[in-house]
């Protein structure tokens, strides 16, 4: 088994993260290599035991000979720009394992969100020879939606004692899971949480946990188009997937094998039914849009002030109520278009 090149991997990630010189080449090369490795996202509320679970899962796969990269995302403070990157030291087993590489990422509130850079980083990790990526994000605000955009399999972690489960539903967490883990099942109330989750899933999915054969016509179809794209629907000829709810005791290492197996099963099903390819395609479309957005902004900013439109005076006009931000953007773009066509002429 070839050892990890820690230094090289770390440097490559930093370059992509900082959009440093050379990052473009690293990323282009990675997409050309097209080594798509499974990305398992683990999300859930703060303190649910995500890091502990990721620690166990990483070691589970690494012990089977895979090279595993763990990315742990922490929020950047919008006030200071600083970030506390605390997860890696919650991963005591993984951080010492010869086949596991652990890296913290600050969300940095960048354009396109975490998912843009994370997708590029994942591609780079595949190119560098990693066989699997685990991605931890806190399920609050927009990051949980983003993890659905980056990962091939999303594991949502919940715990007993959070109180209001409607809250979880509201936060959109029930719409992104390919699997659900009820962690801390050593604590009281875990079965109730699992029951509650199942009941919520019943509202959306027919059938039983995991792979399901087609239910034929007449079975009600469920709503959310994203879920349908990812999990199939009841009448689909290839069958459909109902997210399983599994119990875990991450701290003691209980339930890990079953979680890993269920994840593998989902990934396999997703590939067999070509749902996986749809998912990758969706991600790549998003990456194009993100890159377009970034590039367009760069170009507009480069044109900024060359004609009569510039950011400072536009902001002034918004403040005085003369234009709306949308109209201001419109004018910025128009200026760039004018400049570009002048040059062509």
């Amino acid at each position: 088994m070839e050892a990890l090149d820690i230094r090289r991997t770390a440097r490559a990630i930093s370059a992509v993260e900082n959009h440093a010189g050379g990052a473009g080449e690293i990323v282009r090369k990675a997409y050309r290599a097209a080594r798509y490795v499974p990305v398992v996202g683990v999300t859930g509320p703060p303190g649910a035991g995500k890091s502990t679970l990721v620690d166990r899962l990483a070691v589970h796969w690494a012990d089977r000979g895979e090279k595993v990269a763990v990315l742990a995302v922490d929020p950047t403070s919008p006030f200071t720009g600083g970030a506390v990157l605390g997860d890696r030291f919650r991963m005591e087993r993984a951080t010492g394992h010869p086949l596991v590489f652990v890296r913290s990422l600050a969300s940095r509130g960048q354009l396109g969100g975490l998912s843009g850079t994370a997708t590029d980083i994942v591609m780079v990790l595949g190119d560098l020879g990693f066989d699997r990526v685990l991605l931890e994000t806190v399920g609050a605000g927009q990051t949980d939606v983003a993890v659905g955009m980056v990962a091939d399999a999303v594991m949502v972690v919940t715990v007993p004692g959070l109180g209001d489960h409607i809250q979880a539903a509201k936060a959109g967490i029930l719409e992104i899971g390919d699997l659900y883990a009820v962690n801390k099942s050593d604590l009281a109330g875990a079965t109730a949480v699992a029951g509650h989750l199942e009941a919520n899933l019943d509202l959306v999915y027919p059938g039983s946990a995991g792979r399901n054969a087609p239910h034929g016509s007449g079975t009600p179809q469920y709503g959310n188009p994203t879920l349908r794209r990812r999990h199939g629907d009841a009448t689909d000829a290839l069958g459909f997937w109902r997210p399983p709810v599994l119990m875990a005791r991450a701290r003691e290492g209980g339930g890990i094998d079953a979680l890993a197996d269920a994840t593998e099963d989902f990934l396999a099903w997703s590939r067999e039914t070509a749902r996986y390819d749809d998912r990758v395609a969706e991600r790549l479309r998003f990456q194009i849009l993100r890159a377009t957005q970034g590039r367009l902004m760069e170009l507009c900013l480069a044109a900024d002030g060359e004609g009569d439109v510039d950011l400072v005076s536009l902001a002034g006009e918004i403040a005085s109520g003369a234009v709306s931000p949308d109209e201001a953007a419109e004018r910025l773009i128009e200026q760039w278009v004018r400049r570009a066509s002048n040059r062509d002429a």
Binding site: V84, G86, F89, R90, E92
Partner: protein, 578 residues
């Protein structure tokens, strides 16, 4: 109270009470307000106050205190103060206090390897120390033997290495432990082991338990937020600590197997009032465990002490100690229904500190002397004092002697200890005592509402208080709000002088050598049996002290015993929050 009052200002106010001849509080309040406005403000408008006078615990200090402040605080002499040795013990835990014997002159000391350290102990006793608390090195405190990988570079560094009973025997070789008032150690995370070691040492010497006194800190809960020697998760750690108390209630009720600590929490940033509240919550947790086992409060409470702490503000030191005794007494009586005097009269351990600085270390003699004097004026029972170079390293022989002499001077010169609670009745100190009492009780309520001692560790409230406070202190120093000579007044470049004490370079090797010899000579079968007894107690939840005593007597090592605990209870994973 018969200063002449300005006739104009007293119009319309009640005059002297004809019965007592005392000036009414209303009139004093009005006069004080007048003085502050006409005299004090008049002057400070021209010459502004030097700074805002705010104590480390956030209470503002007024320019002047009068009887009106006592009245405002609802001060009631008989119920708030009473008399020394009587409920609520505000004025002292014993009736005669220092007039029969001054506080117990205590030394916390230890370094290197046991036989090297023994020489230091003998000197301390020659210089007048009446109690020795053994400083253990970090590997020992964290449950590792001197030859364990985690012990690298730490053996004998901040205390003496203690791996087996053989080390203990060497440590006290030639010292009559029955002639010393108390001996003991911290052993916060290894309470049953150190308790067993002292018990076994006495047994070897043919002493009955009543012939010598052992004092342990044995307070693991604060380690998780402040001091960092934790081994196990907090819950089993607290259980093992309470086992020591239970065992002493049954076997050696004259010993002091637990000292619940404020000091590290305060030093870490919580501030003395919040630190006191967390310590009280910890005490409540330990007491709860003991009551659950069927012990009564009157059995348990007399064996518990508290280690009070305040090191920034002299008068807060005094008021904190007095408030703490009162809170304890009321808590024991009202919350737990204690009836014994000994259960309600809190004995306090203190460690005289000041804001010690690294540079110009001799200045620390003045700082620690004032800090210690505060504790003495507050009526502390067992008094330690920091050596002037303690911020830098293990104290040298010179500095530790100077420290002991400072205590002796406070005990015997200047008349500091001639009358009991000399500041009782001071307008300032009494009003501070009341305000601090209220502050501590508020913080305690907050801790209990958050779920008590264990939840405070889990949920991070304790660490949050500490970090907040530490940051506040740092900012106060950076901004000059908290004056500090040689740091922000007459600043000197930070500098750690070379006088720092160095342990003998050979001691790691000598310690490992003794450990090897002990392991070679002991009865392995007896060790295995004894360790199996520890496994058994882990499983059944029986008191851990008896099997530990058996293991210690069989020369099982600290690391071997702690390893059994680790295997059964798991280890605590440190927080990475800041």
């Amino acid at each position: 109270m018969n200063q002449r009052l300005d006739a104009n200002s007293t119009q319309g106010l009640p005059a002297e009470d004809p019965a007592t001849g005392r000036v009414g509080d209303e009139r004093i309040r009005a006069e004080a307000a007048r003085w502050e406005k006409d005299a004090y403000r008049a002057e400070t408008e021209i010459h502004p106050e030097r700074r805002s006078f705010v104590t480390d615990i956030g209470l503002k200090v007024n320019p002047l205190y009068t009887p009106a402040d006592l009245a405002d605080a609802g001060h009631d002499y008989l119920s708030d103060l009473g008399f020394p040795g009587e409920y609520p013990f505000t004025r002292g835990e014993r009736a005669a206090m220092y007039r029969t014997e001054p506080f117990v002159i205590s030394a916390y000391s230890g370094f290197g390897e046991a036989s090297e350290c023994n020489g230091r102990f003998r000197k301390l006793l020659d210089w007048g120390a009446e109690q020795i608390l053994v400083a253990l090195d970090l590997p020992t405190q964290c449950g590792y033997d001197s030859d364990h990988e985690m012990a690298t570079a730490e053996v004998g560094q901040v205390g003496v290495a203690l791996s087996t009973l053989a080390d203990m025997e060497a440590l006290f070789d030639g010292i009559s432990i029955d002639k010393v008032k108390r001996i003991g150690t911290l052993g916060n995370s290894i309470g049953p082991i150190v308790l067993a070691m002292f018990a076994a040492l006495g047994e070897r010497r043919g002493l009955k338990a009543s012939e010598f006194t052992v004092n342990l800190q044995n307070d693991p809960l604060k380690e998780y937020i402040a001091r960092g020697t934790q081994i196990l998760p907090a819950k089993p750690a607290a259980k093992l600590a309470s086992d020591c108390v239970a065992w002493c209630v049954d076997h050696e009720p004259g010993w002091s197997p637990m000292t619940v600590c404020v000091n590290h929490l305060n030093a870490g940033g919580a501030g003395s009032s919040r630190a006191t509240a967390i310590a009280l919550a910890n005490a409540i947790h330990y007491i709860g465990l003991l009551l659950e086992k069927g012990y009564t409060i009157d059995q348990v409470a007399p064996l518990l002490h508290m280690f009070a702490d305040e090191r920034h503000d002299f008068f807060v030191i005094i008021a904190n100690l007095r408030a703490l005794r009162r809170i304890w007494a009321r808590m024991m009586k009202e919350r737990y229904g204690a009836t014994l005097r000994e259960a309600m009269a809190l004995r306090t351990t203190v460690y005289g500190h000041g804001q010690e600085a690294l540079g110009e270390p001799l200045n620390n003699i003045a700082r620690t002397a004032f800090g210690t004097l505060g504790y003495v004026l507050g009526g502390a029972s067992y008094v330690y004092i920091a050596s002037y170079d303690e911020a830098v390293s293990t104290p040298t022989e010179d500095s530790i002697r100077t420290a002991l002499r400072t205590e002796e001077i406070i005990a015997h010169e200047h008349g500091f200890t001639d009358t009991i609670d000399p500041l009782g009745g001071s307008y300032f100190v009494e009003s501070l005592t009341n305000r601090i009492e209220a502050q501590i009780l508020d913080a305690l309520r907050e801790v209990e509402e958050a779920g008590g001692a264990l939840r405070v560790i889990d949920a991070g409230l304790g660490r949050r208080w500490m970090t907040e406070g530490a940051l506040r202190r740092q900012r106060a120093i950076d901004s000059g709000d908290r004056p500090w000579v040689t740091v922000n007044l007459w600043p000197q470049k930070p500098h750690v002088p070379n006088t720092a004490f160095r342990i003998h370079p050979d001691n790691e090797r000598r310690q490992a050598e003794r450990l090897r010899q002990v392991r070679a000579a002991r009865d392995e079968q007896r060790v295995r049996r004894a360790l199996a007894g520890i496994d058994e107690a882990c499983r059944t939840g029986a008191n851990m002290v008896p099997p530990t005593l058996e293991a210690v007597k069989a020369y099982a090592s600290v690391g071997e015993i702690a390893e059994r605990w680790r295997r059964h209870y798991g280890v605590f994973s440190p927080s990475t929050d800041f």
